[in-house]
């Protein structure tokens, strides 16, 4: 299980980076970033996982029953919140760029340009 999680994480990261690097559209690029991010989630959940353990909620279990590591789940949860705002910001920027430049192709977009 653990090896599988690591492989999936590495694969997702690789695919995401490949997508970003070859991207021809900002929105596609933002999508690829979310793929990269999913790689870290899989990695973190894989690290915190334990065979035969339940969720770390002791509402209907006696304390002391085996549970997966709650710290990792807290990490993932916090990061989902942060990343949602980041994606929203990026999409808003992409929208504004499209209004001003008329394209979203990273090949044609650069902040400052030489004269002539």
């Amino acid at each position: 299980m653990n090896v599988l999680a690591w492989c999936v994480a590495a694969w997702l990261l690789g695919v995401g980076i490949y997508g970003i690097v070859t991207s021809r559209h900002y929105v596609h690029l933002i999508g690829c970033m979310t793929v990269c991010q999913s790689a870290t989630y899989v990695l973190l959940l894989g690290i915190g996982f334990r065979w035969g353990a339940g969720p770390p909620i002791f509402y209907d279990h006696p304390p002391g029953t085996p549970a997966v590591d709650p710290v990792m789940q807290a990490l993932v949860l916090t990061d989902i919140v942060v990343s949602a705002s980041m994606t929203a910001l990026l999409l808003a920027i992409a929208l504004q760029v499209h209004k001003r430049r008329g394209t979203l192709d990273p090949q044609y977009l650069r902040p400052l340009r030489p004269r002539e």
Binding site: A9, L13, I17, I20, V21, T22, S23, Y26, L29, M33, C36, Q37, A39, T40, L43, L44, I47, V71, M72, L75, T78, D79, V82, S83, S85, M86, L89, L90, I93, A94, Q96, V97, R100, R101, P106, Q107, L109, R110, P111, L112, R113, P114, R115
Partner: protein
């Protein structure tokens, strides 16, 4: 007093956060200048609070466990449930310095953002809270959260003017730094997997007591990639010149002045506290990061010299100086840390001043292109004097904080490569600023060569603020930079010892290096400003040969975010390869 300091520690981060939320809630009802006044008072208050904490912590670090979740609560040794702020003199002093730069920036931006209610100030206060939290925390995940918050505030502030360039610059900035923070989160996960804790000190103890572990080394690689991306070290540096050149100038003051150097400060703390027990990682830091610092100083210096857009020039100059700071960090020694801390402050003050002067030019003439502005600005002579002085300080004027700091960095780094990189980086950036000063304020022209092909753009910033108000923070910052370091020598020493207690043998000062550096800073712009347009065939050939390497550098800094990500991955591969094969 110590008990009071314990109580007040969380306030350093909570005060700006709380005020930001209040301003956001009330922004539509508040009278126009309230946000300016409130945020200025908060920033000044934080300077006082963090400065006082720095002095208090001289007797020993102040550790505040949030919600009283001290290590004792878990009842098992080595199991830590809480999150703590740990105040040592260096961290608190850096936090106070952040607040000082914010105060200067708030004065400079007085009335700048009238149209947008208090949103600018809210973002800035969030930004400040994130920086202070980043300095004071001693929990790795907490560090990551402050790092992200710092990022988000910075991304939004860059995109703020909603111009074409600022949007694209912000996009590049966001993508590269967000990718960095994903890698950091993965690194945090790996380190937690091996050490079972997120508390710096406990992690350091666990790592030191186990044999070197590839997972720990991998975790370091990922975390270092994120911090080096924030600190714009070659080859992770591409985003900086975009973002700093297009952000509103009061924001660029913060970006260049302290945000990027905080990346290196975080790295230094992690290396010193967490990874000091792992010989492989320390080897990477001593050798690998040293060479990254050397190349950063050289590349940044060359690129700064080849710019015509003043803000972009300053951005590359920041890259060069970050390379010099990384050389200091890579020595992981007390003397190097002393140099780094003073350099951080001196560089922040000078760079803040220069960005404010660029802002003054933008406000008055809607351009920061040194060739376009040639000889226009005689009426602004006080700004010209400040800019010339700042250029001299940047280029190694043998006086003041930056000079003393460079001496310590020299002393901490052995070998010729480090000394040469420091000379090249310092002299070229100082020379570039002086060349721009000569063109803009003194009508000295010289035929432009390498800078002619550099990217540039006209832009507009709100221009009806009084000149004296914009110059006031510049003058105060320059006055601080001119203070002799000896006033605070014992404080700096104990602050550095509090972070890194490794003493290495060193000889006092590189007097010769300092002299060469300053001579070059004067001679290079003088030669450039006296140049004539090349008419003879031979002269044209010489100019072409001179321009070619710069042209190649310009092509590499393409402005495309996809290229930047490729360079980041190359950098990550270099770090990982270094760890694996250790050449």
């Amino acid at each position: 007093m110590m008990a009071l300091a314990h109580q007040l520690t969380p306030l350093a981060a909570l005060l700006p956060l709380g005020v930001a939320f209040l301003l956001l809630a009330l922004s539509h009802w508040l009278p126009p200048r309230t946000a300016d006044v409130t945020s200025l008072i908060v920033a000044m208050g934080l300077v006082a609070l963090c400065g006082w904490l720095a002095l208090e912590s001289l007797q020993g670090p102040i550790v505040h466990w949030f919600g009283a979740w001290t290590p004792a609560v878990s009842g098992k040794p080595g199991v830590i449930l809480g999150i703590a702020f740990s105040v040592d003199p260096a961290s608190a002093a850096v936090a106070a310095f952040c607040a000082l730069l914010f105060a200067g920036s708030f004065v400079f931006a007085w009335g700048y953002f009238d149209k947008v209610h208090a949103h600018f100030h809210i973002l800035m206060l969030l930004f400040l809270a994130a920086m202070i939290g980043f300095c004071l925390t001693r929990d790795l995940f907490n560090l990551f959260v402050w790092f992200e918050l710092m990022g988000i505030a910075a991304f939004a502030l860059t995109a703020y003017p909603l111009g074409k360039s600022s949007l694209e610059g912000a996009f590049n900035f966001t993508v590269t730094n967000a990718l960095g923070s994903f890698l950091m989160l993965a690194g945090v996960g790996l380190l937690y997997a091996r050490t079972g804790t997120l508390d710096f000190v406990t992690m350091g103890r666990v790592i030191a007591s186990h044999p070197p572990d590839p997972v720990v080394a991998g975790g370091f690689c990922l975390v270092a990639t994120a911090l080096l991306t924030k600190a714009a070290i070659v080859p992770f540096h591409m985003w900086l010149s975009d973002a700093h050149a297009v952000a509103p100038s009061p924001v660029s003051v913060i970006f260049s002045g302290v945000m990027v150097s905080l990346g290196l400060f975080g790295l230094l703390k992690l290396v010193a506290i967490v990874f000091a027990g792992d010989p492989r990682v320390m080897m990477l830091v001593h050798v690998g990061l040293f060479w990254l610092g050397v190349s950063t100083a050289v590349v940044g210096g060359l690129m700064a010299w080849a710019q015509r857009h003043l803000k972009r020039l300053l951005a590359f100059s920041t890259i060069a100086h970050l390379g010099i700071m990384l050389i200091a960090v890579a020595s992981v020694s007390t003397i190097g840390t002393e140099g780094f801390l003073v350099y951080l402050v001196g560089h922040g003050l000078v760079k803040g001043t220069l960005f404010m002067i660029a802002g003054i030019l933008l406000a008055r003439f809607n351009s920061v292109d040194e060739i376009e502005l040639y000889g226009e600005e005689r009426s602004l002579w006080p700004a010209g004097i400040a800019m010339g002085l700042a250029g001299l300080l940047l280029g190694g004027l043998p006086w003041g904080l930056l000079h003393d700091a460079t001496d310590s960095v020299h002393a901490g780094s052995h070998g010729v490569a480090g000394a040469l990189a420091i000379i090249v980086g310092t002299a070229l950036t100082g020379a570039a600023v002086l060349r721009a000063t000569g063109r803009i304020f003194l009508r000295w022209s010289g035929a432009p060569t390498v800078e002619r092909i550099a990217p540039t753009e006209r832009e507009r910033e709100k221009g009806d603020r009084p000149l004296w108000l914009m110059l006031l923070p510049c003058v105060v910052f320059l006055a601080f930079t001119l203070l002799p370091t000896s006033l605070a020598e014992s404080f700096v020493h104990s602050a550095a010892t509090g972070v890194v207690s490794r003493v290495i043998p060193h000889e006092g000062g590189g007097t010769l290096a300092a002299a060469i550096m300053f001579a070059l800073t004067i001679l290079i712009p003088a030669a450039s400003l006296l140049r004539r347009r090349p008419t003879r065939k031979f002269a044209r050939g010489a100019v072409e040969a001179e321009t070619a390497p710069f042209y190649a550098l310009h092509v590499l800094h393409s402005g495309r975010v996809t290229d930047y990500v490729v360079w980041m991955m190359v950098g990550l591969a270099v770090l990982a390869g270094w760890l694996r094969f250790g050449w």
